[in-house]
Symmetry: C2
Subunit: 406 residues, 2 copies
């Protein structure tokens, strides 16, 4: 099995049998390929006579996005597998366990999460996740702290960073998030109804300036091992628990990029809620989504500070005032990256179902304009954001302005 080829369903079953401690000998295994076919094959192998199951994820040597196909390194399977293992080490209850892998065949055998819902789908259906802020706060605090120069030996960190050089996947981010929305790119994708917004993005030079600074941070700031694609489609939830998956975009980058991804996707779902003629239930749902933003940040911040105070590996970082400064810079970056991620999901190549799935044209357009208003405000003000309360004020003001104008 050492020369790469896409696994067949039969091969996936045979492979599943070799994983120690899962299926009993002679178990009647069945297998379905459940991937979306764009980047990976995903085999779901179940024992028909028990509740045991596993997932085998295998990378394919190309990416398909909205019909386009381009070659993509299989090394991303190794990167994803290694990132999963590191994240599982620091957050065992929040990241699936890797049971086996083969880098040549670009597959990873891991814990099955079929009992979970993809969080984006859950949010669209109005799901309530009271533990989410605590869980994701723990995930980002632990994974970012312990892979940074603060929480690990600085020489080992450099070697680890070298193992996460991820040019193919980073290029997708650099193009789709930090460039295409601001120029006339064939990758862009938006309805004629918001062509005015797209045109305004292309000519907004003060906004470009902020995006250029954020792009530079994405390109050059090797702060911690990022998940790299931490949107609500990479998070599996139940009302009680949370699992983070799919870290194939993992690389050493700025901490605010991961935190910004979480907040941006909560805000995209928020923007998808109808802005007027609300029922009481809808108003509560809106408020719940908005409240999750500071809740996630506050969980992250308090946990990150606790880790810093307990496990700091860098003597100079004990200097009074440095921790406050460091965290305030993460918050500014978080605002900027969250804004970039909201903007690209409206005018760029890849959208979110939260908004695209709104059947009514006028409501969908209003949601798009609201998301853009929040995203632009976060980018514009990112360097001056001074607290999470200020972060929320920037959002609220943008919402109020756009609700008057719609």
């Amino acid at each position: 099995m050492s020369t790469y080829h896409p696994l067949s369903v039969q091969e996936a079953i045979e492979l599943a049998r070799t994983i120690p401690g899962h299926f009993s000998e002679g178990a009647d295994l069945s297998c379905r390929e459940i991937g979306d076919g764009n980047l990976n094959l995903v085999f779901h192998v179940t024992d028909t006579s028990s509740d045991k199951s596993i997932i085998i994820k295998q990378a394919v040597p190309y990416a398909k996005v909205v019909g386009e196909s381009w070659p993509l390194s299989l090394d991303r399977a190794r990167i994803e597998r290694q990132a999963l293992q590191i994240q599982h080490q620091y957050c065992p209850s929040l990241v699936p366990e890797v049971y086996a892998y083969c880098d040549e065949m670009a597959y990873t055998v891991m814990e099955d999460l079929s009992s979970y819902t993809i969080m984006r789908k859950g949010l669209i259906e109005g799901g309530v996740y009271p533990n989410f802020a605590e869980h994701i706060g723990e995930f980002i605090a632990n994974t970012l702290f312990y892979t940074s120069d603060l929480g690990m030996n600085q020489q080992e960190k450099k070697v680890l960073a070298g193992q996460f050089v991820n040019p193919d996947l980073c290029k997708i981010t650099e193009d789709l998030i930090f460039e295409d929305p601001y120029r006339d790119s064939p990758n862009n994708n938006y309805a004629e109804a918001i062509a005015d917004e797209a045109a305004a993005l292309r000519s907004d030079l003060p906004l470009h300036f902020e995006v250029a600074l954020l792009r530079d941070k994405f390109l050059t700031r090797s702060q911690a091992l990022l998940h790299g694609d931490l949107h609500t489609g990479s998070i599996f939830v139940t009302p009680e628990s949370t699992m983070v998956i799919d870290p194939e975009f993992a690389y050493y980058g700025p901490m605010g990029f991961d935190i910004g991804a979480v907040l941006a996707n909560l805000l995209l779902n928020y923007a998808a809620q109808p802005g007027w003629s609300k029922t009481e239930e809808l108003a509560q749902r809106e408020q719940r989504l908005l409240d999750m933003v500071p809740a996630v940040w506050n969980e992250f911040e308090s946990r990150f500070r606790a880790l810093w105070n307990r496990d700091l590996q860098d003597e100079m970082a004990r200097t009074p005032g440095y921790q406050d400064h460091y965290i305030s810079q993460i918050l500014k970056d978080t605002a900027g990256f969250a804004g970039c991620k909201m903007i690209r999901r409206i005018v760029g190549l890849s959208h979110v179902a939260d908004i695209d799935g709104i059947p009514d044209d006028a409501l969908r357009e209003a949601a798009q304009r609201k998301a853009l208003a929040i995203g632009k405000a976060l980018v514009r003000h990112n360097r001056s954001v001074s607290s999470i309360e200020h972060f929320m004020e920037v959002i609220t003001q943008a919402i109020n302005e756009i609700e008057v104008s719609i």
Copy 2:
């Protein structure tokens, strides 16, 4: 020759004969080992009957500094060789040519620079180098621009950065420059006469705060392929020409670190000049050294801007105002790193002959205090430095204050 062992003089001669196009068949070659024995063997192979000669530099698997010895990866020879080749590619007249190498044996065969003087020695002897600012400005502008995301493909840059993961050598910098001078470390080394200064450095928390920020930049900012140790002992000069050698500390870091190293070492030599009872000649020498600081920066800046305007690889970096902002940030970093490098050369492990070589105790102490005053001022003000004129004002003010107090 593929298993590592230190070359003998006889082996060096045999190796030299194999380099195509240098020595005629049957040439009478002689060889001397001229290294200082701390990090490398350096063989100087000459043809006794012609003026032809080459250098063979071989790493040894340890470092010796002031009697201490610790293991050091031989991979630094590969890093140095590869950095030399890249720097030679962008500055062929300013970096010696690599003729041959063997990574397993950790040697590089290169152009002989015996006709040059080590710049530190030249400056100590009062040498005048009217082309130096132009040459070193070209070196730093070209090597930093073309290895950054501005001047090269951003995916290729990531792969290149992965080849320059250099934990062993970076650790020396992290410890000796960004930590030891600010704590009670057995690595520190200073005369009893300036014990008050050393104690003040250990308790100066606002200074520690700035050093912690600069240390973080050194640890995490993968901006360009740095030389990494660009002091005047790594620069060979004649009155007409300049050659940059010894990039074994090369890694992807913040641009200001290389520029700061050059300026710090000019300022260390400046500080070594007697501050009072000057002859006209000494006053001119002092002024010449001070004038080189803005001259180097201005050469760098104008060349870097020209490269940016001609060869930029990043569309978003064309945003109006971004170039000015980027360069102003490099200047701030340059000030901070220059300051850190001056401080560590006075109280840290490794000193400079410019100052340690002053025979008179009182003059040497005055030079040490002057260097510390300039270094601390640059660190303290680094984030507010707004122009090279302002940078010089910070220095001048520090000099004036210390000359009153000495």
